[in-house]
Subunit: 348 residues, 2 copies
């Protein structure tokens, strides 16, 4: 028997017990197929009237992408990607008529934006099963909205995240991503940025560039192409968690080249496709960690974190901020490496 | 329409959106009754052979409590409270024979203990429906184990927490609490302690003593007795979250008087009983935040945090450390105040 280990995150003061004695096989988590009837999908083509007018649409009348927005009550049909305001926004733009609350050290206005990005007209075209060409449109739309939202005077951070499956918090099953623009940098990102800055001061190198070099060959490595490396992080807090890092140092996704966008689409397709085939389309969340601020440019490294939802964070995790992971990242990587390799020869 | 607010926790650098525009009624979360068949319960009387020998038992052969432990292969029957090692421990005592791993700034041995406290011989005697007299035994057993575990040379913190219901991470439905002893103070408690220390330095007062005074009369107040105050915290991260604070300043539960123990049992009974009746026995987690260290004595205030599991932390929460709560603590308190009052006239 091996002793359990407690590991610290690369950036955060966040610790996780790698519970080897409680060892589970990934396939212990394969979910049973539950057929759930759903009503009319408000995100499917033909139901555009069920959502607010689109703030951005990709249309392709003649093979070329044309960017539009819904105007004067008219809602475009035949879109490829469609972005609409969230009907129940957590953050809303400042509004002179509605006024604002008086801010204090413990209270701020929820000034920002909350949007839903519909990834495809096809209800089930989730990234793990999508055409790579469609994912290129999705990533381009992320970047368009990221640039636009980041430019608002009241926005300091934009979170791009995805909830897949009911157990991961998705209330709609149509393929979609959410964007939330907030009036300050959230604490987790702030802590990541501080750690990156102090590493830079000490070593004149980017922390995650160093991490990537170490993880690129080793027991947690999963996959790579020309532009991206995928690995299970040293202190994974979720079973089967993996991160996607651009090989070229970039603090923000906004610096992606056309070639890198295509390579990111391929990476998402094969890695999420591998996860999907290994665990029968499990619920997961993902979130991009990307910072546009000037002072992040040298030291911060944008990346994508994918969190399969195979375990429940319970009383211990919630009351201590410490985590227990029943699959070591080394075991996770070994399993994922295999299915991702198969998935990569299988993409469209 | 009111603007959404973003609020900071009393102690932590943790922010939550109080999403008033997404306003939900607590009863939107009433769970449907799902009957689940379970096999033999390993925690029920008669099945003591299915768990490891008890490290502590409360027996009551003649009305007086006698404390014992299982020894020489014999397992006591007729117990009132029973504590056993967890079969799949996250933390285990250091073991010379098995050796230890070499520690580093990002790696520690998971040296500690992990125990299960069986709260009653009656399968369903959960705190929200328990006899207050039984809860007094449960709290006394918490204190016995807390004192014992805190005394081990390799233990720096003891987490006492409860998972209630499958969706809250409970794999067994028999009434039980878990104790995990860790070799360092977990980050969340460390941050609470630091915030308490710096408030003390500035104001020569305990932060949570001040908070309690403010919350004791106001829109978030829920209940009180001679020794405890219950309120929904200003920056609740869970819908219907509430905290229980001792009125007398104490950094550690180990300082509870006999009268206070009885009052804590009553408080847990009526508050968890109120939650139970309001939402049809919803899943929840609770965790005690209690620090025994010398330097916490003046500045830290122990308390119990109860987290109903009515929402799912998804991509946004997991990738930013910021939360969205769809029931304001003021609405939560108003609903809980009513049912807790009813529950308090109904206890055994």
């Amino acid at each position: 028997m091996m002793s359990n280990e407690v590991r610290k995150d690369y950036l955060l003061n966040r610790w996780v017990v790698i519970a080897k004695e409680r060892k589970k096989r990934p396939t212990d988590f394969v979910k049973k197929l539950i057929e759930k009837k759903e009503g009319v999908c408000p995100l499917c083509p033909g139901n555009e009237h069920m959502t607010p007018p689109a703030v951005l649409l990709y249309l392709s009348p003649n093979g070329e992408i044309r960017k539009e927005r819904d105007q004067n009550g008219y809602r475009h049909k035949d879109w490829i990607v469609r972005i609409v305001p969230n009907l129940y926004p957590a953050f809303t733009p400042p509004d002179k008529e509605r006024g604002t609350i008086k801010e204090s050290p413990v209270l701020k206005n929820a000034a920002g934006l909350h949007e839903v990005l519909i990834e495809s007209p096809c209800h089930d075209e989730h990234p793990g099963a999508a055409r790579v060409s469609q994912l290129v449109h999705v990533i381009n739309a992320y970047l368009d909205r990221l640039a636009d939202l980041s430019g608002k005077p009241y926005v300091k951070y934009v979170s791009i995240f995805r909830n897949h499956g009911r157990e991961a918090g998705a209330s709609l099953s149509h393929a979609h991503t959410q964007l939330i623009a907030t009036p300050f940098i959230p604490s987790l990102l702030e802590e990541e940025l501080e750690a990156s800055k102090s590493y830079w001061k000490k070593n004149h190198e980017c922390l995650l560039c160093d991490v990537m070099e170490r993880e690129n060959e080793g027991p947690r490595f999963i996959w790579e192409n020309d532009s991206f490396v995928v690995f299970a992080p040293w202190a994974s807090v979720h079973p089967m968690e993996f991160w996607v890092l651009p090989k070229r140092h970039q603090s923000s996704m906004l610096r992606l080249s056309q070639k890198e966008i295509k390579d990111l689409a391929e990476t998402m397709r094969v890695c999420l496709g591998g996860l999907r085939s290994l665990l029968n389309d499990p619920p997961y969340n993902f979130g991009f960690h990307t910072i546009s601020a000037e002072d992040a440019q040298d030291c911060y490294h944008w990346h994508l974190e994918v969190y399969p939802r195979l375990a429940i964070w319970a009383g211990f995790e919630k009351s201590t901020g410490m985590f227990i992971n029943v699959i070591s990242p080394e075991d996770a990587a070994a399993e994922l490496k295999h299915v991702v390799y198969l998935s990569s020869s299988n993409k469209i």
